[in-house]
Protein backbone atom coordinates (compact mmCIF):
# COMPACT_ATOMS: atom_id res chain seq x y z
CA UNK A 1 0.00 0.00 0.00
CA UNK A 2 1.35 3.40 -1.00
CA UNK A 3 1.78 5.88 1.80
CA UNK A 4 0.10 9.22 1.64
CA UNK A 5 2.64 12.03 1.73
CA UNK A 6 2.60 14.77 4.35
CA UNK A 7 1.99 17.27 1.58
CA UNK A 8 -1.29 15.57 0.66
CA UNK A 9 -2.34 15.55 4.31
CA UNK A 10 -1.56 19.27 4.59
CA UNK A 11 -3.55 19.99 1.45
CA UNK A 12 -6.49 18.05 2.91
CA UNK A 13 -6.25 20.12 6.08
CA UNK A 14 -6.51 23.20 3.90
CA UNK A 15 -9.72 21.86 2.41
CA UNK A 16 -8.39 20.43 -0.88
CA UNK A 17 -10.91 17.81 -1.98
CA UNK A 18 -8.70 16.48 -4.76
CA UNK A 19 -6.03 15.63 -2.20
CA UNK A 20 -8.63 13.96 0.00
CA UNK A 21 -9.80 11.89 -2.98
CA UNK A 22 -6.37 10.25 -2.96
CA UNK A 23 -6.85 9.27 0.66
CA UNK A 24 -10.30 7.84 -0.08
CA UNK A 25 -8.98 5.82 -3.03
CA UNK A 26 -6.06 4.60 -0.96
CA UNK A 27 -7.92 3.56 2.18
CA UNK A 28 -11.48 2.66 1.13
CA UNK A 29 -10.67 -1.07 0.87
CA UNK A 30 -9.09 -1.09 4.32
CA UNK A 31 -12.15 0.55 5.90
CA UNK A 32 -14.57 -1.64 3.94
CA UNK A 33 -12.69 -4.73 5.04
CA UNK A 34 -12.93 -3.82 8.73
CA UNK A 35 -16.58 -2.79 8.40
CA UNK A 36 -17.78 -5.94 6.63
CA UNK A 37 -15.98 -8.15 9.18
CA UNK A 38 -17.32 -6.15 12.10
CA UNK A 39 -20.89 -5.75 10.89
CA UNK A 40 -21.43 -8.89 8.79
CA UNK A 41 -23.49 -6.87 6.31
CA UNK A 42 -22.23 -5.60 2.95
CA UNK A 43 -24.58 -2.64 2.56
CA UNK A 44 -23.95 -1.45 6.13
CA UNK A 45 -20.24 -1.78 5.42
CA UNK A 46 -20.53 0.49 2.35
CA UNK A 47 -22.47 3.05 4.40
CA UNK A 48 -19.76 2.83 7.03
CA UNK A 49 -17.06 3.65 4.45
CA UNK A 50 -18.97 6.81 3.54
CA UNK A 51 -19.54 7.79 7.17
CA UNK A 52 -15.88 7.23 8.04
CA UNK A 53 -14.54 9.40 5.22
CA UNK A 54 -17.11 12.09 5.92
CA UNK A 55 -15.98 12.20 9.57
CA UNK A 56 -12.33 12.09 8.53
CA UNK A 57 -12.87 15.05 6.18
CA UNK A 58 -14.59 17.10 8.87
CA UNK A 59 -11.99 16.20 11.51
CA UNK A 60 -8.96 16.41 9.20
CA UNK A 61 -7.61 19.52 10.87
CA UNK A 62 -7.44 17.70 14.19
CA UNK A 63 -5.43 14.80 12.76
CA UNK A 64 -2.09 14.57 14.57
CA UNK A 65 0.53 13.69 11.97
CA UNK A 66 2.73 11.89 14.48
CA UNK A 67 0.27 8.96 14.18
CA UNK A 68 -0.09 6.82 11.07
CA UNK A 69 -2.96 7.96 8.85
CA UNK A 70 -4.17 4.36 8.65
CA UNK A 71 -4.29 4.14 12.48
CA UNK A 72 -6.29 7.36 12.64
CA UNK A 73 -8.74 6.14 9.98
CA UNK A 74 -9.03 2.75 11.70
CA UNK A 75 -9.85 4.59 14.95
CA UNK A 76 -12.70 6.50 13.30
CA UNK A 77 -13.88 3.33 11.54
CA UNK A 78 -13.86 1.33 14.79
CA UNK A 79 -16.02 3.93 16.52
CA UNK A 80 -18.46 4.10 13.60
CA UNK A 81 -18.66 0.28 13.48
CA UNK A 82 -19.26 -0.03 17.24
CA UNK A 83 -21.91 2.67 17.03
CA UNK A 84 -23.67 0.93 14.13
CA UNK A 85 -23.33 -2.45 15.83
CA UNK A 86 -25.15 -1.15 18.91
CA UNK A 87 -28.03 0.07 16.73
CA UNK A 88 -28.21 -3.06 14.58
CA UNK A 89 -30.34 -6.06 15.46
CA UNK A 90 -28.41 -9.19 16.37
CA UNK A 91 -27.78 -11.29 13.28
CA UNK A 92 -28.09 -15.01 13.91
CA UNK A 93 -26.05 -17.14 11.50
CA UNK A 94 -28.16 -19.40 9.32
CA UNK A 95 -27.36 -22.98 8.26
CA UNK A 96 -26.53 -21.54 4.81
CA UNK A 97 -23.82 -19.39 6.44
CA UNK A 98 -22.34 -22.52 8.04
CA UNK A 99 -22.40 -24.20 4.65
CA UNK A 100 -20.31 -21.38 3.17
CA UNK A 101 -17.70 -21.90 5.89
CA UNK A 102 -17.77 -25.64 5.30
CA UNK A 103 -17.23 -25.16 1.56
CA UNK A 104 -14.36 -22.73 2.23
CA UNK A 105 -12.67 -25.18 4.61
CA UNK A 106 -13.21 -28.06 2.21
CA UNK A 107 -11.42 -26.09 -0.48
CA UNK A 108 -7.74 -25.22 -0.28
CA UNK A 109 -8.62 -22.06 1.72
CA UNK A 110 -6.65 -20.08 -0.84
CA UNK A 111 -9.37 -18.94 -3.22
CA UNK A 112 -10.42 -15.31 -3.06
CA UNK A 113 -13.60 -15.07 -1.01
CA UNK A 114 -16.50 -13.08 -2.39
CA UNK A 115 -18.09 -10.47 -0.15
CA UNK A 116 -21.21 -12.58 0.47
CA UNK A 117 -18.90 -15.42 1.58
CA UNK A 118 -17.08 -13.07 3.93
CA UNK A 119 -20.43 -11.99 5.41
CA UNK A 120 -21.44 -15.60 6.06
CA UNK A 121 -18.08 -16.61 7.51
CA UNK A 122 -17.79 -13.70 9.94
CA UNK A 123 -21.40 -14.23 10.99
CA UNK A 124 -20.54 -17.81 11.92
CA UNK A 125 -17.16 -17.41 13.58
CA UNK A 126 -17.82 -14.17 15.48
CA UNK A 127 -21.23 -15.23 16.80
CA UNK A 128 -21.47 -14.64 20.54
CA UNK A 129 -18.52 -12.25 20.85
CA UNK A 130 -19.05 -8.94 22.59
CA UNK A 131 -18.57 -5.83 20.44
CA UNK A 132 -15.20 -5.10 22.06
CA UNK A 133 -13.98 -8.70 21.69
CA UNK A 134 -15.14 -8.72 18.09
CA UNK A 135 -13.28 -5.48 17.34
CA UNK A 136 -10.02 -6.70 18.89
CA UNK A 137 -10.39 -10.11 17.23
CA UNK A 138 -11.09 -8.56 13.82
CA UNK A 139 -8.20 -6.10 14.02
CA UNK A 140 -5.76 -8.73 15.25
CA UNK A 141 -6.80 -12.02 13.66
CA UNK A 142 -8.53 -10.93 10.48
CA UNK A 143 -6.81 -7.65 9.66
CA UNK A 144 -3.45 -8.80 11.00
CA UNK A 145 -2.61 -5.64 12.98
CA UNK A 146 -0.01 -5.59 15.73
CA UNK A 147 -0.91 -5.17 19.39
CA UNK A 148 0.60 -1.67 19.61
CA UNK A 149 -1.55 -0.42 16.73
CA UNK A 150 -4.67 -2.06 18.21
CA UNK A 151 -3.99 -0.26 21.49
CA UNK A 152 -3.81 3.08 19.64
CA UNK A 153 -6.98 2.37 17.66
CA UNK A 154 -9.14 1.06 20.48
CA UNK A 155 -7.74 3.09 23.37
CA UNK A 156 -7.35 -0.15 25.35
CA UNK A 157 -4.11 -0.91 27.18
CA UNK A 158 -1.92 -3.91 26.37
CA UNK A 159 -3.48 -6.10 29.07
CA UNK A 160 -7.02 -5.32 27.95
CA UNK A 161 -6.16 -6.06 24.32
CA UNK A 162 -4.52 -9.33 25.35
CA UNK A 163 -7.40 -10.46 27.56
CA UNK A 164 -10.08 -9.52 25.00
CA UNK A 165 -8.17 -11.34 22.31
CA UNK A 166 -7.67 -14.41 24.50
CA UNK A 167 -11.38 -14.67 25.32
CA UNK A 168 -12.39 -14.01 21.70
CA UNK A 169 -10.00 -16.62 20.28
CA UNK A 170 -11.16 -19.16 22.85
CA UNK A 171 -14.79 -18.47 22.01
CA UNK A 172 -14.19 -18.68 18.25
CA UNK A 173 -12.29 -21.95 18.65
CA UNK A 174 -15.04 -23.45 20.81
CA UNK A 175 -17.60 -22.39 18.25
CA UNK A 176 -15.65 -23.96 15.39
CA UNK A 177 -15.14 -27.11 17.45
CA UNK A 178 -18.88 -27.35 17.98
CA UNK A 179 -19.35 -27.10 14.22
CA UNK A 180 -17.08 -30.11 13.84
CA UNK A 181 -13.70 -28.59 13.10
CA UNK A 182 -10.74 -30.22 14.79
CA UNK A 183 -8.46 -28.29 17.09
Amino acid sequence: MQTISKDIVRRCKDGDKNAFRMIVVQYQRMIFSLAIKMLGDEEEAKDTVQDVFMKAWLEMRRYDEQYELSTWLYTIASRVCLDKKRKMKRIVPLPTDEEVLRDYCASDMQHQLENREWVSIVRVIAEGLSDKQRLVFTLSQLEGLKSQQIEEITGLDATQVKSNLYVARKSVKERLKKLGYEE
Binding site: K17, R21, V24, M54, N115, W118, Q141
Partner: protein
Amino acid sequence: MKNSKIDGILKGLRGQNPQVDHENLLVDSIMDALPDLDKVVPLAAEETDTKQEETQVSRFIIMLRTISSVAAAVLIGLFIWVSQHPAEQEEAIVHRQALDNYSQSKGIISSATSPSELRGKYVELKIKENRKNNLISMYHER
Protein backbone atom coordinates in the same frame (compact mmCIF):
# COMPACT_ATOMS: atom_id res chain seq x y z
CA MET B 1 3.54 -27.42 17.98
CA LYS B 2 1.43 -28.65 15.11
CA ASN B 3 -0.92 -26.04 13.72
CA SER B 4 -4.56 -26.97 14.22
CA LYS B 5 -7.27 -26.93 11.58
CA ILE B 6 -8.90 -23.99 13.35
CA ASP B 7 -5.64 -22.02 13.33
CA GLY B 8 -5.40 -22.82 9.64
CA ILE B 9 -8.87 -21.40 9.01
CA LEU B 10 -8.01 -18.17 10.83
CA LYS B 11 -4.67 -17.89 9.07
CA GLY B 12 -6.37 -18.40 5.70
CA LEU B 13 -8.85 -15.64 6.43
CA ARG B 14 -6.08 -13.27 7.56
CA GLY B 15 -4.37 -13.60 4.23
CA GLN B 16 -7.10 -11.92 2.21
CA ASN B 17 -9.48 -8.99 2.27
CA PRO B 18 -12.95 -8.33 0.91
CA GLN B 19 -13.10 -6.24 -2.25
CA VAL B 20 -15.22 -3.15 -2.71
CA ASP B 21 -17.51 -3.56 -5.72
CA HIS B 22 -17.64 -0.52 -7.99
CA GLU B 23 -14.86 1.26 -6.13
CA ASN B 24 -15.01 4.37 -8.30
CA LEU B 25 -18.73 4.78 -7.72
CA LEU B 26 -18.19 4.62 -4.00
CA VAL B 27 -15.37 7.16 -4.18
CA ASP B 28 -17.51 9.50 -6.32
CA SER B 29 -20.44 9.27 -3.94
CA ILE B 30 -18.15 10.04 -1.00
CA MET B 31 -16.58 13.00 -2.79
CA ASP B 32 -20.00 14.37 -3.83
CA ALA B 33 -21.17 14.30 -0.22
CA LEU B 34 -18.18 16.21 1.19
CA PRO B 35 -19.01 19.77 2.21
CA ASP B 36 -16.54 22.64 1.77
CA LEU B 37 -14.54 22.90 4.97
CA ASP B 38 -14.57 26.70 5.07
CA LYS B 39 -18.38 26.57 5.15
CA VAL B 40 -18.50 23.79 7.70
CA VAL B 41 -16.09 25.11 10.32
CA PRO B 42 -18.05 28.21 11.42
CA LEU B 43 -21.23 26.14 11.52
CA ALA B 44 -19.54 23.49 13.60
CA ALA B 45 -18.16 26.14 15.96
CA GLU B 46 -21.59 27.74 16.25
CA GLU B 47 -23.12 24.36 16.96
CA THR B 48 -20.51 23.70 19.64
CA ASP B 49 -21.21 27.07 21.25
CA THR B 50 -24.93 26.37 21.25
CA LYS B 51 -24.32 22.93 22.72
CA GLN B 52 -22.13 24.44 25.44
CA GLU B 53 -24.80 27.01 26.25
CA GLU B 54 -27.43 24.28 26.34
CA THR B 55 -25.24 22.25 28.69
CA GLN B 56 -24.72 25.24 31.00
CA VAL B 57 -28.46 25.97 31.09
CA SER B 58 -29.32 22.34 31.79
CA ARG B 59 -26.70 22.22 34.57
CA PHE B 60 -28.18 25.38 36.11
CA ILE B 61 -31.68 23.88 35.95
CA ILE B 62 -30.47 20.66 37.61
CA MET B 63 -28.78 22.72 40.35
CA LEU B 64 -31.96 24.75 40.92
CA ARG B 65 -34.03 21.58 41.10
CA THR B 66 -31.63 20.05 43.63
CA ILE B 67 -31.63 23.16 45.81
CA SER B 68 -35.43 23.44 45.73
CA SER B 69 -35.95 19.76 46.56
CA VAL B 70 -33.48 19.97 49.47
CA ALA B 71 -35.17 23.15 50.74
CA ALA B 72 -38.60 21.50 50.46
CA ALA B 73 -37.39 18.45 52.40
CA VAL B 74 -35.94 20.67 55.15
CA LEU B 75 -39.18 22.69 55.39
CA ILE B 76 -41.32 19.56 55.60
CA GLY B 77 -39.05 18.11 58.28
CA LEU B 78 -39.17 21.35 60.25
CA PHE B 79 -42.96 21.53 59.98
CA ILE B 80 -43.33 17.95 61.22
CA TRP B 81 -40.93 18.56 64.10
CA VAL B 82 -42.68 21.80 65.12
CA SER B 83 -46.12 20.24 64.91
CA GLN B 84 -45.16 17.15 66.87
CA HIS B 85 -42.79 18.53 69.40
CA PRO B 86 -45.19 20.56 71.67
CA ALA B 87 -47.72 17.76 71.71
CA GLU B 88 -45.02 15.33 72.65
CA GLN B 89 -43.84 17.58 75.45
CA GLU B 90 -47.35 18.15 76.73
CA GLU B 91 -47.99 14.43 76.71
CA ALA B 92 -44.74 13.85 78.58
CA ILE B 93 -45.64 16.42 81.22
CA VAL B 94 -49.08 14.89 81.78
CA HIS B 95 -47.66 11.40 82.14
CA ARG B 96 -44.79 12.59 84.32
CA GLN B 97 -47.22 14.33 86.66
CA ALA B 98 -49.52 11.33 86.77
CA LEU B 99 -46.62 8.99 87.43
CA ASP B 100 -45.09 11.29 90.02
CA ASN B 101 -48.37 11.54 91.84
CA TYR B 102 -48.89 7.85 91.68
CA SER B 103 -45.29 7.07 92.63
CA GLN B 104 -45.47 9.45 95.57
CA SER B 105 -48.71 7.89 96.80
CA LYS B 106 -47.19 4.42 96.52
CA GLY B 107 -43.67 5.33 97.55
CA ILE B 108 -42.17 4.28 94.14
CA ILE B 109 -39.43 6.16 92.31
CA SER B 110 -39.36 5.85 88.45
CA SER B 111 -36.33 6.41 86.25
CA ALA B 112 -38.43 6.69 83.07
CA THR B 113 -37.77 9.85 81.05
CA SER B 114 -39.22 9.67 77.54
CA PRO B 115 -42.96 10.12 76.92
CA SER B 116 -43.40 6.56 75.77
CA GLU B 117 -41.47 5.16 78.71
CA LEU B 118 -43.54 7.30 81.12
CA ARG B 119 -46.77 6.22 79.46
CA GLY B 120 -45.70 2.59 79.64
CA LYS B 121 -44.69 2.80 83.28
CA TYR B 122 -47.90 4.54 84.22
CA VAL B 123 -50.04 1.98 82.42
CA GLU B 124 -48.04 -0.88 83.94
CA LEU B 125 -48.55 0.42 87.46
CA LYS B 126 -52.24 1.06 86.82
CA ILE B 127 -52.72 -2.50 85.60
CA LYS B 128 -50.92 -3.85 88.66
CA GLU B 129 -53.11 -1.75 90.94
CA ASN B 130 -56.29 -2.85 89.15
CA ARG B 131 -55.21 -6.48 89.42
CA LYS B 132 -54.53 -6.02 93.14
CA ASN B 133 -57.92 -4.34 93.67
CA ASN B 134 -59.63 -7.16 91.80
CA LEU B 135 -57.92 -9.76 94.00
CA ILE B 136 -58.92 -7.86 97.15
CA SER B 137 -62.56 -7.62 96.04
CA MET B 138 -62.58 -11.33 95.11
CA TYR B 139 -61.15 -12.16 98.53
CA HIS B 140 -63.85 -10.09 100.25
CA GLU B 141 -66.60 -11.68 98.16
CA ARG B 142 -65.48 -15.14 99.30
